[in-house]
């Protein structure tokens, strides 16, 4: 059991982790999600006693990490796959860690076999790929057969087979009653692996619930409506009618409309009523990935308001974040309230823009200009 209470870490004026409280329970895989730079790794380091919190505390099994008796036997961690002296062989690296906790050398060969590195055990780690580095890091975490395991982005650099293996490994470890805490910035990965989700953004807790709850709370249905391409006035007419009837209409790249708040038959009736032909009327479900991105995006955009979740409570303004449509360079011609500049912009390198100038640039609360959505994450849809 890992328990954080009011955990806060400031670097000068920058707050990396802000009043974070959560519990990680044994017997389940707990996913720790957040965009890059949201404070995941800092939190992990504080759990391991590497960084001292500015305020608050975090304990493992009731003890701060630094006062744990024989920590390597109780807690295993993968922090940085490249955190290995490149001139040392994989086996010697693990051996030096094993000796710290009085773990016999036979266990080193055992974990090398578990992670599939037995053939390269005598090779220097400088020649290792990122995936091999991850495996070596996982081996180091497993070394002491600990009850608590922390993995910081364990699937980075792994091939599909490796990802599958890590997924099963974590589930297996949790099934044995261990506490498994896995960070990731990929919702899709966590949706498949984790039982419980802790989502943070900008160092703040956004969500702490089981995956099932997260799905039912955050995903929502919408209808996609497409009108003939030769009638832009039809499109506007239909939009006006739908909005009048109480629906929310947003434009998708590619010219379709995304309608929420109205059942499909009603949309059809309304279209018929205003004499607009439909080329498409289809039911869709927003993916978990989109829900997650809205969640984290919302925090960035609404950060300077009192309630960090102000933008999230709203019923789904499910614009097309993460929606896998090819022609996303088109600026949508759509009428409605969706200012979609920078829709698919890649995340800015380095630290995020200061919160100070985001509210001013904010056109309307329904709008969520995405400035920090990694393009790579856009390709996954309906991942559940």
């Amino acid at each position: 059991m890992i328990e954080a209470v009011g955990l806060t870490k400031r670097y000068g004026a920058k707050t990396a982790v802000d009043d974070l409280s959560f519990q990680v329970r044994p017997g389940a895989v707990t996913g720790f999600l957040g965009p890059n730079g949201s404070g995941k790794s800092t939190t992990m380091r504080m759990i391991l006693g590497l960084d001292s919190p500015t305020a608050g505390h975090v304990t493992i099994g009731g003890h701060p990490y630094r006062s744990l008796p024989n920590a390597p036997r109780q807690v295993g961690a993968l922090l940085d796959a490249k955190g290995v002296h490149g001139g040392r062989t994989a086996r010697n690296h693990l051996l030096s860690l094993a000796q710290l906790a009085g773990i016999p050398a036979a266990r080193v060969d055992e974990v090398l076999g578990v992670v599939g590195l037995q053939d390269v055990a005598k090779r220097r780690t400088s020649g290792f790929s990122l995936g091999m580095g991850q495996r070596l890091g996982i081996a180091a975490a497993l070394l002491g057969d600990p009850q608590v395991l922390l993995f910081d982005e364990p699937v980075n650099g792994l091939d599909p087979e490796g990802i599958h293996w890590v997924r099963n490994l974590m589930k297996m470890l949790a099934a044995e009653g261990r506490t498994v805490f896995v960070s990731s910035h990929l919702m899709s990965e966590m949706a498949l692996t984790a039982d419980h989700l802790i989502v943070i953004g900008r160092g703040r807790l956004l969500s702490d619930m089981s995956v099932t709850d997260f799905i039912s709370a955050n995903s929502a249905d919408f209808a996609r409506v497409r009108v003939p391409e030769d009638g832009p006035e039809d499109r506007q007419k239909l939009t006006a009618t739908l909005v009048e009837a109480g629906g929310r209409v947003m434009s998708e790249p590619g010219g379709a409309l995304r309608v929420t708040g109205l059942p499909l038959p009603r949309i059809s009736d309304l279209a018929h009523g205003c004499d607009v032909r439909l080329w498409e009327l289809s039911p869709h479900q927003a993916s978990l990935e989109e829900a997650y991105m809205r969640l984290t995006q919302g925090l960035v955009d609404y950060r300077s308001t009192d309630d960090a979740k102000a933008g999230l409570a709203e019923p789904p303004p499910l614009d097309a974040y993460g929606y896998p449509i090819g022609g996303h360079v088109d600026e949508p011609v759509a009428p409605v309230e969706v200012p979609q500049e920078g829709w698919y912009a890649p995340p800015p390198p380095g630290p995020r823009p200061a919160p100070a100038h985001s509210p001013a640039a904010e056109p309307s609360p329904a709008a969520e200009p995405s400035s920090a959505v990694p393009a790579g994450e856009q390709t996954s849809k309906d991942l559940r």
């Binding site: 006693g49 001292s52 009085g102």
Partner: protein, 259 residues
């Protein structure tokens, strides 16, 4: 809590499993011995060309340690790398997660690497002495002569202490490159130059290498060097104080900063 013997064992594994250890220590040995022997042979051949003052204070023991000036640089590299690679590789996080007691971690590491450096230093110093005496022929001295054994053992201690000093500095600066960039020019140039500049030499003789090298002299003010206000053991004491300060500084940095 990770026990001290366990940490010592682990640090020994770490040290012996990287090739930089072997190479730096072998170069320290080879450079010191070869250069000492070569200079001894040279001085023996050109003894008559030396100034009168130099002839009067000719110290065959001190001459055998002429190679230390260069050989100590390899010791500096060894000391810096032992600590610095933990930081440059990121291994420090894994290490500290495994040994949350940072004092145990750092002092065990320094103890293991320091003892190794001392052993290699002593070996270097004895081999260097005997080889150089052979080169000096009749002008050489004997290990049984007054103070000679002290100087030869001192030469080994000096090499070990230089390495430990470098470990402390690397722990303070948390970077191999930065530490080498400061220590190498300091020991190779700055200290040597300042020690030859009038005025500055009053300060420079309290630098770790200048003070520490006094232990290797048998004849007072050997080879017409400047008289110092401390004896051989006093000089080594000054050096030990420097080493303690560096290690303490390194420990405080490690203890108080985030890894």
């Amino acid at each position: 809590m990770a026990s001290v013997p366990a940490v010592l064992t682990s640090e020994w594994t770490k040290i012996r499993s990287v090739s930089s250890t072997t190479w730096t220590l072998i170069s320290a040995f080879v450079v010191t011995v070869v250069m000492g022997a070569a200079l001894s042979a040279l001085l023996n051949a050109t003894f008559d060309d030396l100034s009168e003052a130099e002839q009067a204070t000719f110290d065959p023991t001190f001459v055998s340690f002429s190679g230390t000036v260069l050989g100590q640089l390899a010791m500096v590299v060894f000391g810096v790398l032992v600590v610095g690679t933990e930081y440059s590789s990121g291994m420090i996080r894994t290490s500290l997660a495994a040994v949350p007691q940072r004092a145990t971690f750092l002092f065990s590491k320094i103890a293991v690497a320091g003892v190794l450096a001392l052993v290699v230093g002593l070996l270097t110093s004895f081999v260097s002495f005997f080889l150089s005496q052979a080169m000096l022929g009749d002008r050489g001295t004997d290990i049984g002569a007054d103070n000679v054994l002290r100087a030869v053992v001192g030469g080994g201690l000096y090499m070990g202490l230089i390495a430990i000093f470098s470990m402390g500095v690397a722990a303070m600066l948390r970077s191999s490159m930065l530490s080498l960039g400061i220590l190498m020019p300091f020991f190779f140039l700055v200290s040597q130059i300042l020690a030859a500049v009038p005025g500055a030499k009053d300060v420079a003789r309290y630098f770790p290498d200048q003070a520490g090298s006094k232990i290797m002299q048998v004849v007072p003010d050997a080879m017409n060097t400047d008289p110092a206000p401390y004896g051989p053991w006093g000089g080594l004491g000054i050096m030990v104080l420097w080493v303690l300060a560096a290690v303490l500084g390194g420990f405080l940095v490690l203890k108080n900063r985030d890894a």
